[in-house]
Amino acid sequence: MLKTLLEAFALISTWEVIIAMFAASVYGLVIGSLPGLSATMATALLVPVTFYLSPIAAIATIVAASSMAIFSGDIPGALLRIPGTPASAAYADEAYAMTRKGQAELALGAGVWFSAVGGIAGVLSLMILAPPLAEIALSFSTFEYFWLALLGLMCATLVARSSPVKAIAGMFIGLLVSCIGIENPGGIPRFTFGITDLFGGIEPIPALVGVFAVAQVMRAMLTPEPPPLPRRKFGSIMAGQWLLTKKYHWQMTRGNIVGIIIGVLPGAGADMAAWVSYAMSKRFSKEREKFGTGHVEGLVEAGASNNASIASGWVPSLLFGIPGDTIAAIAIGVLYMKGLNPGPTLFTEKASSMYAIYLMFIIANILMIPLGIAMIRVAAYILLAPRSTVMPIIMLCCAVGSFAIGNNMFGVVTVAVFGVIGYVMEENGYPVAAMVLGIVMGTMVEQAFVTSLIKSDGSILPFFERPVAAILAAMAIGALLWPVMVWVWRRVKPVQTAAATSR
């Protein structure tokens, strides 16, 4: 154990890793703070760069950029009421109300501090949970993998905060996209329409870049420019954070735990963690009436929650190759590229690399405090950059980055096509995250499904016979039926209240 830890230290204490991590941190902070540019997009645009780095440095950039971007999404949320990333949307109103009360420092300081604490709690959970889960996962057969993947997809549809039917449709579209190519049980060209470029299938990364980056540029074409940031002088940012920690230590712990649980669930990530934690904080607060008027309590809990989920989201990714959220989906792609194929054996065979990942997470979260404070101070200048200079550069990065992935122009075509698909879907209320997870997990779901069917001779029953498979199946089906139950409950409740008032 100590030896592996030392090896891990040796792995990350190279100049390449240190520079990569620092640069990716700054990059993540800047992209995350610009309204409309999400943490997922920041990570996706980073992938072409990771091609040219060593495995550990490549993962370092992903870890650093995603953690920083999730925090810095709080900055425009608090100052402009425009969340920089969807994960900050849950409490942007609250933070903005605090800014209007003149407590911008407290709100942003809480963002930095509790994000860092949450991140570290998430890493600890990753360190503690992953090895025993890996033991269990070793005995998993294709039945368990099938249900686990399905559970991940179903969770992704639950998170969507849109019509569940549309979310499931989005998921099916993603799975359909993953059918393209010759990588299927029969090895025959499927849905390729004779186009040679389609034989290899649709690469998830260009699709992601299209859906998250190009679609955002398309949206910018039609929406008005966000208002400029009022210049303001900040007082001490960290002052009072220790008092908050003492006062709200229970809320912070609860936020961490909820974030960790949601992160570990395949398919649900930081956005959902923030929403659930904010709602929980409000529900259990002693001062519920203060929520919405600039009260820091919800910020503490939700900020601690969304960063905790970022780290614990790596648990299903590393163990099963099933992403916890869209950022983890990208990370999985990078892991495969770098020869660190996800799976339970990763923890025994490549233990030092795993420890290196934990260490990098801890360093990234500690680094977040000084860099985050610096970022808050210069945010006013960065947010001055007009969209008309940022978006063209993003476009160039999309074109070059997608070309670099396979060194062919088909990647650029993929980005353009998925930009349109993502834009149209989002405009019509179809959540794109569900589609993206469908694309990423499609091949795996199909393989597990078809192999299981061959093993069971076409019978459905063996899918439920193994105990773990049965539990996972129950969870997946429960997730599928959840919206139906909510709908029924909503129908019944007004009737009851109506009956109560008429009496």
């Binding site: 099916f172 029969g186 025959i188 540029v217 650029v412 930009g419 179809y430």
Partner: protein, 164 residues
């Protein structure tokens, strides 16, 4: 681009049916009950069912209406710009520019193609030429430096090779 649910739903029904039919046509693996045909069949059917549900408005009550942020005092309302008939088509500009890149990059070279892309995007987002022109002149070189020089992505040289 907001289409009624009946339109998108019907499209999904058609897409799902096509996928299921396409999957059904695929040859099975010899000697196996299931092969590459099963998965598209299942997915296509599921997609078509979802499409039907959307056409009939099932699950619509879960959709959240987009919350309009009320303007704060002191924050002047942006004057609504005059919108032409083809205003909505501006959204198609980014993918069109990417396709332009695919077609033109090999002939014109990266620097020129990228400069055109940047200039058009920037102008479309409301930049004056005084901002757009220097941006279009400088940013391709910066990107080329990072991707072409440092990361060794083989970017096409075309008419105007980069100076390094």
């Amino acid at each position: 681009m907001r289409l009624p649910d009946t339109v998108t739903g019907s499209f999904l029904v058609a897409l799902g049916a096509a996928a299921a039919y396409g999957g059904w046509l695929l040859p099975p693996v010899p000697g196996q009950p299931v092969g590459p045909n099963v998965f598209p069949l299942v997915i296509g059917t599921g997609l078509a069912l979802c499409g039907l549900a959307i056409v009939f408005g099932i699950g619509h009550s879960f959709e959240e209406e987009e919350e309009l942020i009320p303007l704060e005092d002191g924050q002047a309302a942006a004057a609504p710009r005059p919108q032409g008939k083809f205003h909505g088509l501006r959204a198609l500009l980014p993918p069109a520019l990417l396709l332009f890149y695919v077609v033109a990059a090999d002939r014109l070279g990266f620097i020129i193609t990228a400069a055109i892309m940047v200039y058009v995007t920037s102008t479309a987002l409301g930049a004056k030429w005084r901002l757009a022109l220097p941006l279009a002149a400088l940013s391709p070189f910066a990107i080329h430096l990072i991707f072409g020089k440092l990361l060794r992505v083989p970017l096409p040289a075309g008419l105007l090779p980069a100076p390094w």
